[in-house]
Each structure stands twice: as C-alpha cells, then as structure tokens.
C-alpha cells in the first residue's frame, strides 16, 4: 500500500510538473480567438434586418462554435462585393446573382457558396396618377441605383412592354417621395416601406413586381473567390452552417433578434425604430424565406440560374460559367 502511494505521488509529480505553474495566468494571456479561423464578411450596404441572420450568428456565438472568428464589415455601393473579394478586402461577401455574374464576365472568379434569398424583391414603384400600367412607363425616367442598372437592362429585355429610360441614382426613396422622379426601383423590404413611412399611400402607387413576372433574379447569396473556397472548403461549409443557424434563430426569436438589430444600427449611427425594422423583417420572411423547404435552404435553383445566365449572355454579349462552376453546395 505504501509502495502504491509512493508510485501515485511520483506519477502526480511528473504530471503536475509538465503543466505550466500558473494555469490561470496563461489562460488569461492567451487570446481565445487564436485557435479560430478568421473570416471577414462584407455586407452589400448599410446595416439593417436584411443581414439579421449573420449578425445573430455572430452575437450568439454560432460562428465561434464551428471554429470561426467572424467580423462583419459594411459594404459600400461604389465598390461591388465581388470587387472587394478579389481585392482581398473581405473573405466572404453578400451579393446578388446578377452582380456576381457581371463580375464573372469581367474576369472576377467568384463562387456562390449559399443562396440565402432565392427570390427577387425589386419593385418598380410609380405614382398611379401618372402610371396605371407598365405601358405608361414608356419614355419615363425610372430612378435606378447605379449598381442595379444591369438588373434594369435585363428587365427591359425580358419584358418587351417595358420601355422606360434608366435614370442612375444613389438613393431612390427621397427622389420619389418629393416628386423629383415619378417612378423608381425600390426593394420591397427596404425603400418601399420607407416610402410608405414617408406618407405616400399604397393606394396611390402603381407597382410592377419582378417576382410576379417570373423573371428569376435571386438576391442575397454568399460569395467568395474560387481560390478562397478551394483553400478553405471546410471553413466555408462551417460558415454557411452557422449562418443558417443564425437565420433560424432570428426567425424563431423575432422580437429579440429585431431588437438586437435596432441596437446594432443605433451603434452604427443609422436612424431607425423597432416598428420599421420589424415590418422589413416580416417582408423579408414572406417574400424570401417562408416558402423555402428545409432541404432547399441555401440552394441556388439550377433552372433559375440557367434562365438568368442565358438572359445576361444575350443582353450583354458575355460568356458566363455553368451552374456547377458558379455554385457549390457546401452543405451537401
């Protein structure tokens, strides 16, 4: 028994002496994110509930759970997300399929690793005192965000009845509300709600909704350079999985999540309120997420892609990658 006790003491001595003397001090000095893989995510533009899933995933630690140290930066419209990715300003970015394909046509090799929003939210909003049908738009200036000019060109090619003139603008809602332009592009979950909150009555506007015209224009998707994806496929997969968890959490805990986003926006000096952000989130859910089957979450629909690819190739006379080259289902 005494021999056994001595053996145990000797073993304990060796075990203890192999550890640093002050474990607590060492732990405090070590950056807990050192072992995590750093990813910078760039959003398309100003922060609001459009990006709630990513902010919630970050706040709730879902990215850290899968070994990622994620930081979110706000994109600027002057520099497209694909450009920022190619320049190395971000690792993963949120962009539209049209924008990513236009970038591809210019030699920027980006891949879609997740299609979060499968539908279009673009509305063409006009005063119905001037426009009662799409034919009335003929020859009219329609305010279009500079980075959405290709969308407008595609729309005009897709629908022969649309013969408006594209008027490049930075923002659309103020120009419309003040009557500087009688027709503008507006996202259903953003500018359109702001227009209504500026005293324009829904009954006084004509709306041309791309979603109802069956022109597939999938919106927010996650992109990275092919080089990044090929070097870090596991991290990309984990990023998408954690992002899905963030969106699921936000949808199941709306009040908490929207309140959190209002706080994030306030910290970033954006003016808003809970009511407005909640309305926007409701519209995002109804239009983009409500009808998505769980197994289809994040999948870029191949038929939609082919339709859009063919249209872009025709309108802009460019050559674009095949579906399997452009899109990678990282969750499979």
């Amino acid at each position: 028994m005494r021999i056994m006790a001595r053996v145990i003491i000797i073993i304990l001595f060796f075990v203890m002496s192999s550890y640093p003397q002050d474990l607590n001090t060492i732990d405090l000095m070590k950056d807990p994110t050192d072992s995590l893989f750093s990813i910078t995510l760039e959003t398309k533009w100003d922060t609001f509930v459009q990006f709630i899933g990513y902010y919630i995933a970050l706040e709730k630690g879902f990215y850290k759970e899968v070994g990622l140290d994620v930081s979110i930066i706000t994109g600027v419209p002057q520099l497209s997300v694909p450009q920022a990715l190619v320049k190395g300003e971000a690792d993963i970015g949120i962009s539209h399929v049209v924008q990513a394909l236009m970038a591809s046509s210019q030699g920027m090799d980006v891949v879609n690793i997740c299609q979060v929003f499968p539908n279009s939210s673009i509305l063409l909003v006009a005063r119905n005192s001037v426009v009662q049908s799409k034919l009335d738009l003929a020859g009219m200036h329609v305010g279009v965000w500079e980075q959405y000019i290709p969308h407008a060109e595609l729309l005009k090619e897709y629908d022969d009845d649309l013969e408006f003139s594209i008027y490049p603008v930075r923002f659309t809602n103020d120009l419309f509300v003040r009557g500087a332009l009688n027709a503008v592009f507006a996202m259903s979950y953003n500018e359109y709600i702001k227009i209504l909150h500026s005293g324009v009555l829904a009954e006084n506007v004509y709306i041309y909704d791309i979603l109802n015209e069956n022109l597939p224009m999938p919106e927010d998707g996650l992109y990275c350079t092919r080089e990044f994806y090929e070097a870090h496929p596991e991290e990309c997969r984990n990023f998408v999985a954690a992002t899905k968890k963030g969106w699921d959490y936000a949808l199941n805990n709306r009040k908490e999540s929207v309140t959190y986003m209002v706080g994030v926006m306030t910290d970033q000096f954006f003016y808003t309120n809970y009511y407005e952000q909640n309305k926007m989130f409701e519209e995002i859910y109804d239009r983009q997420l409500a009808d998505v089957e769980p197994d289809d979450w994040g999948v870029l629909n191949e038929q939609d892609y082919v339709t859009l690819k063919n249209l872009i190739e025709k309108v802009f006379d460019v050559s674009l990658p095949d579906y399997s080259t452009f899109y990678v289902n990282v969750l499979q």
Binding site: L175, G179, S198
Partner: protein, 296 residues
C-alpha cells in the same frame, strides 16, 4: 299633508336640488374648461409663432449665402481660385455651416474635366479642401445634387448623422445653379452648405421649458427633426407616419398628411401618447419644415 306625502315632497326637493346643482356644476366646469382650452390655444399659437420666427430668421440667413452665390456662379465667369476663396468664405461665414461645395455638370466648369466639385469643410479652426468628383464618388447621382436639379428649386435634405465628420445631426441645403439667357435657363450644377442642427433642440427646449405641451419639428418627408427630451428617441428615428402606423392611429396619419400638404392648421383627437388632444401646426416659410405642437 300626511307623513308619506311630506316624504315624497322632501325627496323631490332633494332630487331637484341635486339636479340643479349638477347642471350648475357642469356649466361651471365647462366654462373653466373652455377658458383653459382657449388659453391653451392662445399659448400654443404664441409658442409656435415664437419658435417659427426664430427658426425662420436662422434658416433664412443660412439660406441667403448660397442662394446669392448660386445666381452669381451661373451668370459670371469664375476661375478656380475665385471659387476656392468663395467656398472658404462660406464656411467661415457662420458657425453652423461646416462644409460647402460647388458641383458642376460634366464639362461645364472645365471643358476637359468630367467632374468638378470642390468641397471645403471646417475641422476645428482649420479649413480643408477635397474634390468630390471621383470614380468612387459620382456626385451626379446623389440626392443633394439631383433633388435641386430635378425639382428646380433649393432643397433641404432630410437630416442625417455626419458620421466621421462633425459627428452631429446635419442637413444639406442645395441650391441649383442656372445660367440665364434671354428666354431660357440652363442647369449648370449646385451649391451646397452642410449645416449642423444641434441648435434647434436648444431653441426648442429653451422656449418650451414652461409650456404644458411640447413642440415637434418635422421635415418635408415627415421625419421628426426635433422632439422634447422625453421623446428624444423619436428624433430622426421616426417619421410622423411611422409613429402613426406603429400606434395604429389613423388620425395621427391624417395629421401627417395635412402637415405635408397645408401651410397651417389644427386637429382635435386623442393621441396615442401623452394624453394629447389638441394639435396645431405651421410651416416654417423658409425651408418648408413644420412645427407641430401637442397639448395634453
């Protein structure tokens, strides 16, 4: 008269007395209420007029400088140095103006330059210059340039937070520049002044400190620019319409529409906040924003 009849008469007398007392009380209360209401209306009218006069004076003086310059720029020849010293003097002219730019239509200032838009801004005691027109900043599509161009008149922007600049609430006043000929006018560009708005809250709080109600300043698009301290969270975060929609108040929404469309007016309804029942509004002549007072 037997005992029973006496009782009946006494009861009738008491009831009659109570009825008369009630009627008189109602008349008296109504009289005082209407007197109070008249007094409140008078106070509200004076309050709005006082603030309106003060804001008119300040907005007027802030508008005068760029408005005068716009006419000169469109109809005389200016060199680069003239323009530079002009913009510097605009920024120096008033403590509330912290930045000023002149932005021209493509090739209209210099036939070899697509963009030409010098911007001067104050940074403490120093004044710096940057050129706004670059591939990364196409000023030709920004609201501050397009609104005066398309509307053909001077425009105050909705307030915004000048993040990374002076870190204050500001509004940009933009004036279109026209070259006038005998029978035509040609749009040449726009001159802007960036103006801090922190002084508005100070004026509002000072004038309304002993007032039962409060005063809101509302922009052209319905944005609440100035609110009393207890509703500070409304400032720039809400429009009067989003406030109405949130509180499901059709009357408040209607008030918002009237504020947008009418020069002045008043409405009675039970507001969804602060027990307000009477609202009075008046547009500020100089910039078309509106003062709205609410009385509990």
């Amino acid at each position: 008269m037997n005992e029973t009849n006496k009782k009946i008469v006494r009861n009738v007398k008491i009831k009659l007395f109570l009825f008369v007392f009630l009627i008189i009380s109602l008349i008296v209360v109504n009289h005082f209420m209407s007197q109070r209401s008249e007094k409140q209306h008078e106070v509200a009218t004076v309050m709005i007029k006082t603030i309106s006069n003060k804001l008119n004076l300040i907005f007027g003086s802030l508008q005068k400088i760029p408005t005068d310059i716009a006419f000169g720029l469109g109809n005389t020849t200016y060199g680069v140095e003239d323009l530079d010293s002009l913009l510097k003097s605009v920024v120096r002219s008033n403590d509330e103006i912290f930045g000023s730019a002149v932005a021209f239509e493509p090739y209209s200032f210099d036939s070899s330059e697509y963009f030409y838009a010098p911007y001067y801004f104050a940074d403490g005691n120093k004044i710096h210059k940057i050129n706004l027109g670059t591939d990364m900043y196409n000023y030709l599509i920004w609201d501050w340039y397009l609104l005066p161009k398309l509307l053909k008149h001077p425009v105050w922007s909705d307030p915004y937070f000048d993040w990374g600049g002076i870190d204050l609430e500001v509004s940009t006043f933009s004036v279109p520049i026209y070259h006038y000929t005998n029978d035509d006018s040609v749009f040449m560009g726009a001159i802007t002044t960036d103006i801090s708005l922190d002084w508005i809250d100070e004026i509002n709080d000072e004038i309304t400190k002993d007032y039962d109600g409060y005063v809101l300043l509302i922009s052209t698009n319905g944005v609440i620019v100035s609110a009393p301290p207890k509703h500070e969270n409304w400032e720039l975060n809400y429009t009067i319409f989003s406030l109405a929609l949130e509180s499901k108040s059709d009357e408040l929404f209607e008030l918002g529409l009237r504020i947008r469309d009418e020069e002045f007016g008043e409405m009675y309804f039970d507001a969804p906040f602060d027990s307000c029942t009477f609202f009075k509004f008046r547009k500020i002549e100089t910039n078309e924003w509106t003062l709205l007072t609410c009385i509990p």
